[in-house]
Symmetry: C2
Subunit: 146 residues, 2 copies
Amino acid sequence: MTAHQALDEAAIRRRIDQVVQAIRAMDLEGVQVAYAPDVVSFDVQPPLRHPGAEAKRRSWSEVFAAYRPPLGYEVRDLTVTVGGEVAFAHSLNRLSGRLKRGGNGGFWVRATYCFRKIGGDWLVVHDHVSVPLDVRSGRARLDLEP
Amino acid sequence: MTAHQALDEAAIRRRIDQVVQAIRAMDLEGVQVAYAPDVVSFDVQPPLRHPGAEAKRRSWSEVFAAYRPPLGYEVRDLTVTVGGEVAFAHSLNRLSGRLKRGGNGGFWVRATYCFRKIGGDWLVVHDHVSVPLDVRSGRARLDLEP
């Protein structure tokens, strides 16, 4: 790894850490700064494909509306790969907290983030967040642990 | 985009096309050449994280064992982003065919591929393939169309 790549990797890890802090604080603006305007998200919930930063804003505001503060957000096994102006990262993440409608919510997801360096800033141009599928039952597996 | 990036993008599109042809032909070796030995896959089925090319081989051989030939594999909305020795791509994919146990199988998935150029060859070092989750019912959404 070159010194330049090490600096870029550190910048991307800071970026992800900022998003995690913003999620825990339920700070929609703080989350939103990470996304490029034309981000394409393969998000946890339907549809298959969510185009545009406005769709991410709606998804996060629905999550924040469903929970009482504080929100927990854990990131495990974060791996970052950088090359020039393009990078990607993946991790296992768990959002957790008390639902407003009662009970505790939260499960582990797989998260992949794809970045471009735009105007000197690393922005998410694509992300993919999901849970595995049990093909036989058609149910999503929300009970898995890393 | 530079001329170099255009060549790299063309090479990655060829790579994905080779994998698609190999899937349709149920050619396990043809699929397998796309993966780096230390690929980390967030695959359709559990567990959360599948480390290593051998895990991809097991997943694909299970798929190939479940269907009668020929297998259909459609790729839509393929987007490729290249930077130096790192690239990523995403698309909506649909595998389809006649199941050996009877009936037709197949549904649309979201696919993200993350590449590194290793020894002059673009290899998948991370992939993420999933269907969306209906959070209220806990069911996976296998009925979605692009």
